[in-house]
Amino acid sequence: MSAGEATAQAIPRPRRLPPPLACIGLAIVAIGLIMALLGPFLARHGAGELISERPFPAASWALPFGGDHLGRDVLSRLLHAAPVTIGLALGATTVGFVIGLTVGFFTAEVRGNTDTMITWILDILVSFPPKLIALIAIAGLGSSLPILIATLGFVHAPRVARVARAVAMNISAMDFVEAARARGESVLAVMVREIWPSARRPMAVEFGLRVTFSILVLSSLSFLGLGVQPPMTDWGSMVRENMSGIFLGTPAALIPALAIGILTVGINLVIDWIGGSSGRRLTEELSR
């Protein structure tokens, strides 16, 4: 406490390069985003364009990752599928996140019986297995992009709400939030101006985790044939289509699976970095 006071005067923090693992993660996420935005324009061939007469043509300069079970270019299809996989994951996560965050912050701020009741409902929703909810929704409503986004958003929302509530509970007990209440700020103003800025970092970590989760669930749904329907394609359905190729020793199924894996790991590396540094900043600030 005493020595800290003298050094606390040092003004802005210098920008340091993130640690190496975080750099790798950031690079992977950046590549993923570029693929999602520009993928179809970068692809040499159309998604349904037949390049070869034979199934599973071997890799060559013309087909860097080889061809798939219908003789289509795997690389081109990977690029065409990227916006679907990543866009769906981001869309579904955002829907779940906005709802979950609002509910979580609200219930943490109002407390009392409203809080007890909402938490109770959230607990019930969380107790349903996510894949089961997805299977039921798709069986009943059919598979389309809006249904997939809504279903996954519905799976995410209560889970995000519980995390958001826990984070907001700690923040809303602090004096500066109390000061805002004493000023007579509205519940919304307290949520947006006071709680959110301090919750940003832990919630960013949660967002990253949820995106990863979305990618995996969407891919597994597509793998089961319940997700994205042809002629549209995503990485999960590419794995399913080309499974038989595994026995022929072609990489057609492994490439999209690898893409899913690398992107997931990349996002997690970034999360670890954000989470780790936020923890340090927060304790630093509290101990002063």
Partner: protein
């Protein structure tokens, strides 16, 4: 006799966050002989704790011991490896931190925690450790049954003594005490100080006592070392430093303890309708939940009747747990009241702040105890101060900026601070920002909830002066909440003494400070640390029967601790708030004559 600790030419460097190193400790020499108590005093940032920790060979993260010799019993501490340091720490030299609550493990019984250093260092086996713990508990005046309890079941003062017992367990030759009583209120502080003194004398161990409070140190230390900006300003025997300080900085520190002009003589203008009026206000922490039992049940405020006039300063004084902060929260509309009525300028205020009209909210502002927690860490100072202008006056951005500059200037901060984050300010500067935020609303009443108690003496004196100055310039009224009667005397027009949610004494400041006092007020007065040697013993005697600190459920709440309690009457019947002179009232069954007689005994109660 060879000294226990010899520090020579110590230099400590800290990472300044910009990749370069700055010296936080510059060439400090310090010697502690066996059985000697040396106090390190100075304001925060002086480097007291850094030097004290260096005695254990410890440098906090981000700092390095770069130069100098640290000899513990002739052994070079800086040359020790991790194993050597582990053997030293806790066994030969131990450390007591400021926050006992943070130092204790909430999941381990108290006895096991005290035994830990004994077992780790292999000094005692299970049964020997038990005997040692029993003797420590006796020495520190702790209840015997406490060993099986958990830290949260002990009071704040007990927790600090438990940490002390842990530090004393291995009978170390050097004890480092880092602000051990700063977080405690005045009456608890006496118990802990007494325990520390008894323990040090009984064990014959040497000690380094770090504090910013000269009065506390004067009771305990043999020698005082005054530090500032990482260097020693002055050192000498306690009596010499206190009575004949040579350096101007030491004089400043003494003045902060012994304020010169204590009281406002001005009589507050008292119009027919008071600004704030509380009538029969009750509050509790009981909550009617849908699930689970209701929590608590004890009333925190009982039938409070108080008024604050326009431009008046009413101080509310009491120990922690007396309900004084709850009182502020009830007035602010942050805590519901069970019954009673609160009126602002004749208009009844709604229970909760969100149900009050904007204009009423603007007129009452609150400043919290800890500026570290009461400012949003993610907002710049400009936004923090500008928000009330936007909220209450719907003021445009450009006007707000002009106001922000004016407000910063008003609290003595440069306009450039507008762009800073709270983390880039010192504790005193942060409290200034909190004050500016309250004044930004141009309120009629500011609730000041212990706004000085997290600051060190010198800074606290400056903030108090600022509050007085701002008061002179405007017609604002303060409800000034504090546990420190002497501080309060420098700003309050009237004082209300609160115990267990009940007003025990109420009157003009000068009247409250003149006998007769309520026995509790007398206790609080004696508990304020004084530079006078022997104050601690007097205060300890006056403290009354120990242990029983819980308020009595019926009758006078103070009765279990009261030295003047009348058996058979006080535990049955709550005395009325008896007005003795105009505007001065005492809630006691004893007559004024009886009180006056008890209080003019040899024990001096005046702070100077």
């Amino acid at each position: 006799m060879r000294p226990v600790l010899e520090i020579a030419g110590l230099v400590v460097r800290a990472d300044d966050g910009k990749g370069s190193w700055i010296d936080t400790i510059r060439n400090v020499d310090l010697t502690v002989s066996a059985g000697e108590v040396v106090a390190l005093i100075g304001e925060s940032g002086a480097g007291k704790s850094t030097v004290a920790l260096a005695a254990l060979g410890y440098a906090r993260p981000g700092t390095r011991l770069v130069e100098g010799r640290i000899l513990f019993d002739g052994q070079d501490v800086r040359a020790l490896d991790e194993r050597g340091l582990r053997r030293l720490r806790g066994r030969d030299a131990s450390y007591v931190a400021q926050s006992a609550q943070a130092a204790l493990n909430p999941a381990i019984p108290i006895g096991a925690q005290i035994a830990e250093p004994l077992l780790i260092h292999g000094i005692a086996s299970g049964t020997e450790a038990e005997a040692r713990i029993a003797s420590l508990i006796g020495l520190l005046d702790l209840p015997v049954g406490i060993v099986t309890r958990f830290p949260h079941q002990a009071s704040g003062g007990q927790q600090q003594r438990i940490v002390l017992a842990m530090a004393m367990a291995c009978a170390p030759r050097l004890l480092v005490l880092d602000e051990p009583t700063t977080a405690l209120d005045v009456t608890t502080q006496i118990e802990v100080l007494k325990a520390i003194r008894t323990a040090i004398r009984g064990q014959g161990s040497a000690a380094i006592y770090v504090s910013h409070d000269l009065a506390v140190v004067a009771q305990i230390a043999d020698r005082i070392v005054v530090m500032r900006h990482g260097a020693i300003v002055e050192q000498g025997p306690t009596a010499e430093i206190v009575e004949r300080p040579k350096q101007p900085y030491t004089v400043t520190l003494i003045d902060a303890v012994r304020p010169r002009d204590r009281r406002l003589t001005r009589e507050a203008p008292r119009g027919p309708a008071p600004l704030l009026a509380l009538r029969g206000v009750n509050a509790s922490y009981e909550q009617q939940g849908w699930f689970g039992p209701a929590r608590g049940g004890n009333k925190v405020l009982r039938d409070i009747d108080l008024t604050v006039g326009k431009g008046e300063v009413l101080a509310v004084v009491g120990e922690s747990g007396s309900g004084k902060s709850t009182l502020a929260r009830v007035v602010a509309g942050l805590h519901p009241r069970l019954s009673g009525d609160i009126a602002l300028a004749g208009t009844t205020l709604a229970d909760r702040v969100r149900r009050r009209p904007l204009e009423q909210r603007r007129r009452i502002q609150i400043i919290f105890q800890s500026p570290d927690l009461s400012l949003n860490p993610e907002e710049r100072v400009g936004e923090i101060i500008g928000r009330p202008r936007q909220l209450y006056f719907n003021e445009a951005r450009t006007n707000r900026d002009a106001h922000t500059d004016r407000l910063l200037d008003m609290v003595g901060l440069p306009p450039s601070y507008e762009r800073r984050f709270p983390a880039e300010l010192s504790g005193g500067e942060r409290q200034r920002v909190a004050i500016a935020r309250a004044f930004a609303a141009e309120p009629d009443l500011i609730l000041c909830d212990e706004i000085l108690s997290s600051l060190d003496v010198v800074i606290a004196a400056q903030i108090l002066e600022l509050m007085r100055e701002l008061k002179r310039k405007s017609s604002v009224a303060y409800l000034f909440i504090s546990h420190d009667l002497v501080t309060v005397a420098q700003i309050a027009d009237r004082i209300a003494v609160l115990y267990a949610g009940t007003v025990l004494e109420l009157g003009a400041t000068s009247a409250v400070f003149t006998p007769p006092h309520h026995p509790y007020t007398a206790l609080l007065m004696a508990a304020v640390p004084q530079l006078r040697r022997g104050w601690l013993d007097d205060a300890f005697k006056l403290r009354g029967p120990t242990a029983q600190r819980r308020a009595a459920p019926t009758g006078c709440p103070f009765q279990p601790r009261c030295p003047l309690a009348i058996p058979g009457l006080c535990e049955r019947e709550l005395p009325p708030l008896r007005e003795q002179t105009s505007g001065h009232a005492i809630r006691c069954h004893r007559s004024d004559a009886e009180l006056r007689q008890a209080q003019t005994s040899p024990v001096q109660t005046s702070p100077n």
